[in-house]
Subunit: 467 residues, 2 copies
């Protein structure tokens, strides 16, 4: 009879040790296919352990199919396993940790001010929601999102963006990744999608990844070019009319109307209005959303809480035209929500308590101060005569056109040499920039302190002192 | 000169009223394209309000493109708008609220016990994470998920499932919706995917929605049929080897090895191991994951915290074979995480503090007690001689084969007549059930109280008293 060495001092139980050793004996061919196992009684006597221990080990081996049992005859090995392994840790080939260059100051755009998030308030509301509200919602994950939360979104949309949308039209999703996915599935893979160029390149990559035809449409001074849209035979166009990213262009009312008319000419056509940072306009009121003018119900409105609260929350939403609601429900209604129920309940309460509005007002002031300070630093620096500032009225970035003979890329590289990251407009082009001589730098400032801005402009003056 | 009626008692500011009324005048054709607007001074005198108010209104109209400004000449209407509307709320056609039938007792399977969630602990950890930890993570959303959390998942996988996977191999995602999406994008739309039949039908629907070819593969008594897998020329197969859903079959070691060998025969082949509820095995140890035997690195392991914690959390994850990590990073690395950073940090701490392990042990006992109680009720009921119980060793459901001349569907309908929802095995078939005479009912019990189970079995005895 095969013997097994069991260690009573070991951390694993005797049953686990025995089970492991029998498995090993099978793997090593010491126990062969169809071989009869010793009876529980015999093995217990042989190993001087209880029959219950043997039984537990045999039961586990039975459950996993290493042995089978024939009533009143005994247990038999079922398999010969050349494959079973104490599998070694495979080396992780091909994985390179993504390296982010470290800069002294980084004027990146997709950030919120991490000093100003209402941590205490949020923690309190989270706690209240978990203790008061989660029990009835623990097994929820409805496809459109939590209804109460969607109702609050509908209220916000009306008061901030002039949009009349009912909660039934709203779908909550975890980022543009999810919403654009749902749209391509609803609108169809056979459609031609158009995106602005330059733009937030990720959206272009998403359409590509999802396997749909996507065209880049150039801008003129009023936003996306309608002529190009038609020339390229787009069915669906993804635009940022209230504050084009990154150019800052506000599409005027005339072009908006033309866009709406274009969409209404054909049943297949839709406009996706990406309203990513329209809440922050520093003079006057926000520009009303294109959706608020959408008499024909051809605009799919999309926004997120990434700029108004934090990217880490991963909460976005969209407003569907009425006729797409049924398309979604019939075809994709089996999807569970991509956003945790808790997070939706928390944000619902955050809005209901008026905290969202307070936070937005606070942040508008905060970002305005930062913008003013950075503009002041730039306009008082040695660079001042080389700079033309644009698109500073809204959003969390502005553009500076530089008067110089250097190329845009040179400007970015000179800044990098001083440990500074600024972004050339060319970095936002999907195709080739139409005008090589644009020489425009995009400045984000939302998560920079006043000290960092000082440092940044000081370094920039050094970097560009000979332009 | 056009006049405007401004109400000083109104909630809207004078500037907003003026802006709205000028817009309306343009929309109604009272102000025509190219018409010169009154100068700020003149209009201020005329309306007896300050010039600053006029300026604010004109600036907003300028920003939105209703008027333009020619230096030293004045402001001009830019557009004639037949389209502009005080858009009425569109009726939401085609939207029907999904109606869920209400039952006295519902033996559904996809639930956790909402009485036993560690609300207090969770609330405390959430609070700590938000106050201590969120500031540095507010702008994070890395594609693979939060590294520290993935490290914890890797530890859990080793101790509960015998899987040696490094954090670098793990991708966190919001449910199978997201993970299956990423897989179809990584493995390719040209591949043929196979799913078990019967199974959790949602996965089949997901593959379909994502536009890939998906075949249904029947089961035999050892799990998925390898012959059918080959006959249908599948490249990728989605299986639940440790506890087939819903049949409860544990795929024995021999079939597991055959599956692994099948996958290793061709570079294109992969096995997706869906390990949805393997943590709950009521006798002996959990069945080791197929992935733990995966010497060739052909298994993509997938699991979630939906059964172990709650569906509402929407946190799933998968382990990629080493060679797919680079594929993901190169092609989909621009995706932001679909799970909020906060939630990942919270779960990381929940695990690190040992709370996850405690909760699992507690729930294993809890669910075992519920299972034992329900089995006892059934085996002591008037129905006892008609019942054969199966698949009760593991997971949060079991099956009962009913000895009767009635059809399975009749049994379900008779139960419904008494306000009771039980689930026929046929409801989990994508194609036609292979054997019409199976007459097997799937019982979930995880979110039922003892009282509800009593009530349920009482009603069932009435419903089925004449079978």
């Amino acid at each position: 009879m095969l013997t097994f060495f069991l260690d009573k001092q070991s951390d694993s139980s005797l049953y686990e040790q025995l089970y492991e050793q029998i498995k090993l004996a099978i793997a090593e061919g010491k126990l062969k296919k169809n071989e009869k196992m010793p009876s529980k009684r015999k093995l217990a006597n042989h190993l001087k352990i209880s029959q219950t221990t043997i039984e537990s080990a045999y039961n586990q081996l039975l459950a996993e199919g290493y042995i089978n049992s024939i009533a009143k005859v005994g247990y038999f090995v079922t398999t010969d396993l050349e494959l079973l392994s104490n599998r070694k840790h495979l080396p992780i080939q091909g994985y390179e940790k993504i390296k982010h260059d470290e800069f002294l100051v980084d004027f990146k755009t997709n950030q919120v001010d991490s000093e100003s998030f209402p941590y205490e308030k949020f923690a309190k509301i989270e706690r209240d929601v978990i203790l008061d509200n989660l029990k009835n919602n623990l097994n929820r994950g409805e496809s459109f999102g939590v209804y109460e939360f969607r109702k609050k979104i509908s209220e916000i949309l009306f008061s901030y963006r002039g949009i009349k949308a009912s909660a039934e039209q709203i779908i909550v999703g975890s980022g543009s990744e999810h919403l654009i996915l749902l749209l391509t599935l609803m609108l169809g893979r056979d459609k031609i999608y158009g995106v602005e160029d330059p733009s937030y390149i990720k959206n272009y990559l998403l359409y590509q990844a999802y396997g749909v035809k996507v065209k880049t449409i150039p801008l003129d001074e009023e936003g996306i070019s309608l002529d190009e849209l038609m020339k390229q035979k787009c069915d669906v166009v993804h635009v940022t009319p209230s504050h084009q990213f990154p150019s800052g262009i506000v599409t005027p009312i005339k072009r908006r109307m033309e866009l709406l008319r274009w969409a209404n000419e054909n049943n297949n056509r839709y406009i996706i209005e990406d309203d990513y940072d329209s809440e922050f306009r520093f003079s006057g009121n926000p520009i009303p959303a294109l959706k608020s003018l959408d008499k024909f119900d051809k605009v799919i409105y999309m926004n997120s809480f990434s700029k108004t609260l934090a990217p880490a929350l991963r909460i976005s939403f969209m407003v569907l035209p009425a006729n797409l609601i049924k398309v979604y429900q019939d075809n994709l209604g089996f999807f569970s929500s991509s956003v945790p129920t808790t997070n939706q309940l928390i944000l619902e309460r955050f809005i209901a308590l008026g905290e969202y509005e307070k936070h937005l007002n606070r942040m508008k002031n905060n970002y305005k101060q930062k913008r003013d300070y950075l503009l002041k630093l730039l306009l008082e620096s040695d660079l001042k005569s080389n700079l033309v500032i644009r698109g500073e009225e809204a959003g969390l970035h502005f553009l500076i056109k530089i008067k110089t003979d250097y190329l845009e890329n040179d400007l970015v590289e000179m800044a990098k040499d001083k440990g500074l990251r600024v972004y050339g407009l060319y970095e936002y082009f999907i195709g080739k920039p139409t005008d090589e001589g644009v020489k425009t730098i995009v400045f984000g400032y939302s998560n920079l302190s006043f000290e960092q801005m000082q440092e940044g402009v000081k370094l920039l003056s050094l970097a560009w002192k000979n332009i």
